[in-house]
Amino acid sequence: MSARRILYHLVRVAVGAVFLYASVHKVIAPAEFSRTVYHYQLLPAAAINLIAIVLPWIEGVVGICLILGVKMRGAAGIAVVSLLVFLVAMGSALARGLNIDCGCFAAAGTKLGFDRIVGDLVLLAAAALLYRESARESIALTALPSLAPSSVKESS
């Protein structure tokens, strides 16, 4: 296995672990998380609970997919999109001077600050690389089916 592949798998598991970890407390405490979402003042009141219920589970499934290395393109793609959405949400909240919970790793109780923006950017870069690398992998596999080891082939 090349160094690049080893790095790919390390990043994949690390980002997956972060997503899974971030989802747990929010899955456990949807009521708290809904209030955190409300404080961002971005969504209509009618949409807040639905987002607070569903988002952590999608986050968790993405995390599990990344850790297991299945549905990599979908999982990495959602990771990229969601981290962009979080970036916009956090940036707008900070720009509006809101003093609120981040809702990043806990449903509530962790303050939103610029360190969270930096963390999001780091994850975003990692997720973008994962998406690129998984796209490259699937292209290589479809282009050269005879060279692909059967164990690497993904069932879909």
Partner: protein, 208 residues
């Protein structure tokens, strides 16, 4: 990182379609799991929440609502601030009831031994708080609590506030204090905003 895999004309459409298909699968799986879990979990919340009474009261079940501390109005807070000012003219004296208090009503007695707690973060507190209030940030409860424990224990009444409006730090702090066995606790829902709107003075700077 720079070398791109060369592929045929059909190669670009298929992978992106596959990305979307996989993403859709994950979204649907997550949504399905979420809705099922929310439906069967005792911690589940309504699909559409009621935020009409502010975030602090939203998505709380009847037990949680009943467990919320009693609310205190602006006039009573004003009495408490006056009592704290009489008790400790300049410095942060210990929380002993004022002997000079002329008013002997129960409310005055409680006010004399009451401690006003600002649940907001230290920097927000330093920018302006209700005079006499101590800062116990709900977000840094574990770090801030030990330093204030003796004063909180000596209090005859704990009054907790934050910004008011949608702010729920006071609710969080009241819950934590209750868990530590402290009481009685009252909530000032109007908070700092109501205090300022009433034209009262604020105090700046960190906790003395």
């Amino acid at each position: 990182m720079s070398n791109r895999t060369v592929h045929g004309p059909s190669g670009s459409a298929t992978p992106s379609r596959r990305s979307l298909r996989e993403a859709l699968f994950i979204v649907l799986l997550g949504t399905g799991l979420a809705l099922v879990a929310n439906a069967i979990s005792p911690r589940g919340i309504p699909l559409v929440g009621d935020f009409s009474r502010g975030a602090a009261l939203a998505n709380r079940n009847t037990e949680e609502l009943a467990a919320l501390p009693a609310e205190i109005d602006l006039a009573h807070v004003h009495d408490i601030v006056a009592a704290i000012a009489r008790r400790a003219p300049a410095d942060s004296g210990s929380a002993r009831p004022s002997a000079a208090g002329a008013d002997t009503s129960l409310a005055a007695a409680l006010a004399a031994g009451a401690v006003l707690l600002d649940a907001r973060t230290a920097d927000v507190y330093a920018a302006g708080h209700i005079p006499g209030a101590l800062n116990l940030p709900a977000a840094e409860f574990d770090q801030a609590y030990p330093g204030l424990k003796s004063r909180i224990k000596a209090a005859s009444l704990l009054v907790v506030y934050c910004d008011g409006g949608d702010c729920e730090l006071s609710h969080d702090l009241a819950g934590m204090l209750k868990d530590m066995g402290h009481g009685p606790i009252q909530l000032f829902p109007g908070g700092f905003d109501a205090w300022m709107e009433a034209g009262h003075d604020m105090r700046e700077g960190p906790e003395p």
